[in-house]
Each structure stands twice: as structure tokens, then as C-alpha cells.
């Protein structure tokens, strides 16, 4: 396996982008990444696109071919592949691009992620998102995506004494981080009372415990490390890429206060990178709900099981804490255009490792991690990046 570097990144603003369609956002992110990498289109060997449900959001399948076409790459007839794993589509697309370069099959690959969610109404968007869980044996009986996470939260509170205030603190912190990110969907800091007094969605979770529906896209350019210096002085190394699965339905697991797929993927990733959780200075984790961030920081090994809530309240995941988590604002404040999210996480970590994250820069960041989740933890991708 060859070493793989990220030599370019690009993304759009996340949010309700009424004036942009799926192809507009996809191309905007892709072109930004290609410009950042200082590439000529002829050098690109392949394209991977992470997307969950264009078929239901915009009634368009076959979106990798669409992106290849509108980015002008179809003229060169390069292979273009769509990857789907619900919320983990973007992270998994990155992993497929990584494998293609690491194996020696391709030298230079563009990986994008995109979702256009606001062309359907909120209720429909929620129904589409819930299809990442077990449609026949959970959703049919009244389960919603927030309700399944609410049951995780309820059980975590029962087993570990996690409090409502600790959950709410996750949203407060991620909104604070989002206020420093000009591309975030929500750029306003909020206080604890706002989260606690928000209308309930699925108790104990309220509106501010849930990531929004978003439009957006992100892209990265991958290159064999041995050729990266031709394009950039600051290649970012992919030190590890790991993926794991679990049961599709939450009720098929013996314990729901932990995502086993996160634990397994993290174990493999840290082993591949030759690092431990304490070596990571900055991480982007899948906080589609406040409880999800607690599970993530515990299952990744940053904090002991059950101590995630306390760690957040104590400022240990803030910028300047033990490990800065979701400096982009996370899914909660930056936004969650499903298929784009896993790629956008990597874009944020690359900015941090390059030292170009502006007001939210983590001083001395050398190693960063992303954790990208599909459904209620049935797919998890963990990626570890290092400054060169």
C-alpha cells in the first residue's frame, strides 16, 4: 500500500441554498478543491461522490456521472462512482478514493460529497433520513431518526447518570464553534437556556439537540504521497482509514449506549496510524444529535465510558481543551447535508493541520481525526490525518 496525501480541499457554505441546485453545489466544491490543488483537469484519474439519497431529494440517480459531466471530466471519460452509506456516504467515498490511490490503481483522485435536501419539505426530509435505519421493523412502527437517538440518550442517562444539561452543553459549544466559521449554517452562539427551552422533538431531545437539514457539498483531492510535492508544499497525510459495520436496527444490539462500529473502526485506525487517542489534538465527530457526540468522544477513546457529558461541560472538547472537537461547528451548527458531511469533516481537519482555520485554529495541531456515522451506527468510518 502506498502513502496517500490530501493536496486540495474545497467546500460550499452549508445551509438553505435556494439559488443553487445539486449540480451547482457539487461543481462549486469540486472546482474549489481542484484549484486549491493547482491541478489541470487532465491529471485527474477518477472521481468518487458520496451521496445518500438524491433519488428521493431531487429525483435524480446516477449523480457521479452527473458531477463528472458538469465538471467537464466526462469529456475525458474518467471513472465516476457514487458511494452510499446513509450519513457515512462522504467518509466512505473518501475511503474508496484512498484505497484506489493506496493500491496503486490511480495516482490522482477527486472525492466529493453532496446533498441537496431543501428541495423537499421538512417532514419529507425527515422521512428520507429515517430510511437509514430499519424501515420495516423500526420506522413502520413509529420510530423516527430523532426518536431512536432519544432512546439512546435516555438509556445513557439511565446507565451513566448523564444529564439533560450535559447534552445541551454539546449544542452550546458547537454553536460557539460555528460562530467562528463563515461557512457554517448557524453562525450565532446560543446559551444553555435556549437549548433547554426549545420545543421537544423526541424527548429528551429538543430542536437544538438535532442537526438541521442542509444543502452543501465538499471535496478533496487525493494524490500518491510520492507525487504530492509536485502540487503542494503542504500535503496532509492520510495516516489511517478504517470502516466497520453493525446491525441496521438499534434493537438488535445488546447495548445502545455505545456504537460498537465506532470502537472497532477507531481501534483499527489508531493501530494503522501508530497513534493513541491522546495524540489527537483536533477531531470532527458525527454530532447529528447532541447524544451522538457523547457516544463518539467516549467510543473513540478520548474519555472513559459515561464521562463524555462531564468532559463537555468541563471544556475538555473546546478549543484549548484536551482535544478540540467539532471546531467547524459540527453537524449541529455547520450543517448536515448528509452525503457531504463526511468529506466536510476532512476539509475542516485539513484546514486545522495546515494552520489556516482562522479564528477557530487549534494551536499546534499535528494529528486530526474524523468519525462519520451512517444510520444509528450501522456504518462508521474513522480517518486519521497528519501534518507532514
Amino acid at each position: 500500500m502506498r502513502e496517500v496525501a490530501i493536496i486540495g480541499v474545497g467546500d460550499t457554505k452549508f445551509g438553505e441554498l435556494w439559488d443553487m441546485g445539486f449540480r451547482d453545489i457539487g461543481i462549486a466544491a469540486g472546482l474549489a478543491a481542484v484549484q486549491d490543488a493547482n491541478l489541470a483537469a487532465e491529471e485527474i484519474d477518477a472521481l468518487y461522490v458520496g451521496n445518500m439519497s438524491a433519488g428521493r431529494f431531487i429525483e435524480q440517480e446516477h449523480v457521479a456521472a452527473l458531477i463528472a459531466d458538469y465538471s467537464g471530466l466526462a469529456r475525458d471519460n474518467i471513472p465516476a462512482t457514487r458511494i452510499e452509506a446513509a450519513g457515512a456516504s462522504g467518509g466512505l467515498a473518501l475511503r474508496q478514493g484512498y484505497l484506489a490511490v493506496a493500491s496503486g490503481m490511480h495516482d490522482l483522485v477527486v472525492v466529493g460529497g453532496a446533498e441537496k435536501m431543501t428541495d423537499v419539505g421538512d417532514t419529507m426530509a425527515a422521512e428520507i433520513q429515517s430510511s437509514s435505519t430499519d424501515q420495516q421493523w423500526e420506522v413502520t412502527f413509529g420510530a423516527t431518526f430523532p426518536a431512536l437517538h432519544a432512546m439512546i440518550a435516555r438509556r445513557h442517562m439511565h446507565d451513566y447518570g448523564t444529564t439533560r444539561e450535559q447534552l445541551a452543553s454539546v449544542a452550546v459549544l458547537n454553536h460557539l464553534h460555528g460562530s467562528m466559521n463563515p461557512k457554517a449554517q448557524f453562525q450565532r452562539a446560543i446559551d444553555l437556556k435556549t437549548v433547554l427551552n426549545a420545543p421537544p422533538v423526541a424527548e429528551p431531545l429538543g430542536m437544538f439537540d438535532c442537526a438541521p437539514s442542509s444543502d452543501g457539498a465538499a471535496a478533496v483531492v487525493l494524490c500518491a504521497m510520492e507525487k504530492a510535492h509536485k502540487h503542494t508544499d503542504k500535503p496532509i497525510r492520510i495516516l489511517a482509514s478504517a470502516q466497520a459495520s453493525d446491525t441496521l436496527a438499534l434493537h438488535a444490539r445488546s447495548d445502545i449506549t455505545s456504537f460498537q462500529a465506532t470502537r472497532v473502526a477507531a481501534r483499527h485506525a489508531f493501530k494503522q496510524a501508530g497513534l493513541e487517542p491522546k495524540d489527537i489534538q483536533v477531531a470532527e465527530v458525527h454530532d447529528n444529535f447532541t447524544i451522538s457526540e457523547l457516544l463518539a468522544i467516549e467510543d473513540l477513546g478520548f474519555f472513559p465510558k459515561g464521562q463524555g457529558g462531564k468532559a463537555v461541560v468541563d471544556g475538555q472538547v473546546a478549543i484549548g481543551g484536551k482535544v478540540a472537537v467539532n471546531t467547524s461547528g459540527g453537524l449541529k451548527a455547520r450543517g448536515d447535508p448528509i452525503g457531504a458531511t463526511g468529506v466536510a469533516q476532512v476539509v475542516e481537519i485539513v484546514s486545522q493541520l495546515r494552520g489556516t482555520a482562522g479564528k477557530r485554529q487549534v494551536a499546534g495541531a499535528r494529528f486530526g481525526l474524523t468519525q462519520n456515522v451512517g444510520g444509528t451506527g450501522a456504518t462508521v468510518v474513522v480517518t486519521i490525518l497528519g501534518a507532514n
Partner: protein
């Protein structure tokens, strides 16, 4: 949704048909053709088992934002219930004040209308939970 898609699940939705691994005894709901522990050793050895319908609440949520077909029911209690046979099911917990629900509460299944396949489609039935003091 086609009528057949609902009809072929009737044994499990109506009668709680589960399967039990003939090698290790692990119970699965809905039924599976292969045991996730015994793998190929379990092929051809999965036996049908009808769940008793009794169990206790493992976790729950009061749902306020719901898909259009549950609009008339909200807010409703959704629960994960660990059945006495060890397997877990997800469905609504009804005929109860949401404030009375707690983890560990004893419940049993009851056959109820679960949903409709649009305004002109079939009405389908299945299990929900009620308190079982």
C-alpha cells in the same frame, strides 16, 4: 407500497414469529435464516419460535415530531422492549400516561392498527405495547 410487501410480514407482525438458533439457542426477531454467532453451522437449523409478547421497557421516547401518517397520534410513546425471550422489539407504548413510563416497566404486546398505505391503500396491523402490571 405493494400489498405483498406488508402481507409477507404478517406472521411476525401479527403473531410475533421469531427464530431460534438450533445450535446456540439465540433468538432473533424478525426471523433470520442464519445465526450471527454460529454462522454456517446454523444453516438449516433455525427453528420458528412464537414470542410470548411479554417484556420490559429498555428505553423510550415521547415523540412530538412525526411522519405524516402518525400526525394524529402525536405526541406518542415509542419504546424498545426487551422481551422475556431476550430479543428486543421497537413499537409504540399505548394506553398509558407518558409520565408513568419508565425503564424497567413491564409491558405486553397487543394487536393494533399500525398504519395505512396512503389514502387508498391497505390498512395494516401489528404489535404495540400496553402496560402489564
Amino acid at each position: 407500497m405493494s400489498t405483498a410487501r406488508l402481507w409477507r410480514e404478517n406472521p411476525s407482525r401479527y403473531n410475533l414469529a421469531a427464530s431460534k438458533c438450533g445450535v446456540c439457542g439465540k433468538v432473533f426477531f424478525p426471523p433470520r435464516n442464519v445465526c450471527s454467532t454460529c454462522h454456517r453451522k446454523s444453516i438449516g437449523k433455525m427453528e420458528q419460535l412464537l414470542l410470548s409478547g411479554e417484556g420490559e421497557v429498555y428505553s423510550y421516547s415521547v415523540v412530538h415530531e412525526a411522519p405524516s401518517q402518525f400526525e394524529m397520534l402525536k405526541p406518542y410513546v415509542l419504546a424498545m422492549v426487551r422481551m422475556d425471550e431476550g430479543v428486543m422489539l421497537t413499537s409504540q407504548l399505548i394506553d398509558v400516561d407518558p409520565k408513568e413510563v419508565d425503564i424497567g416497566m413491564r409491558v405486553k404486546t397487543t394487536l393494533r392498527k399500525v398504519g395505512e398505505d396512503g389514502p387508498a391503500g391497505v390498512i395494516y396491523y401489528g404489535y404495540k405495547f400496553t402496560p402489564n402490571p
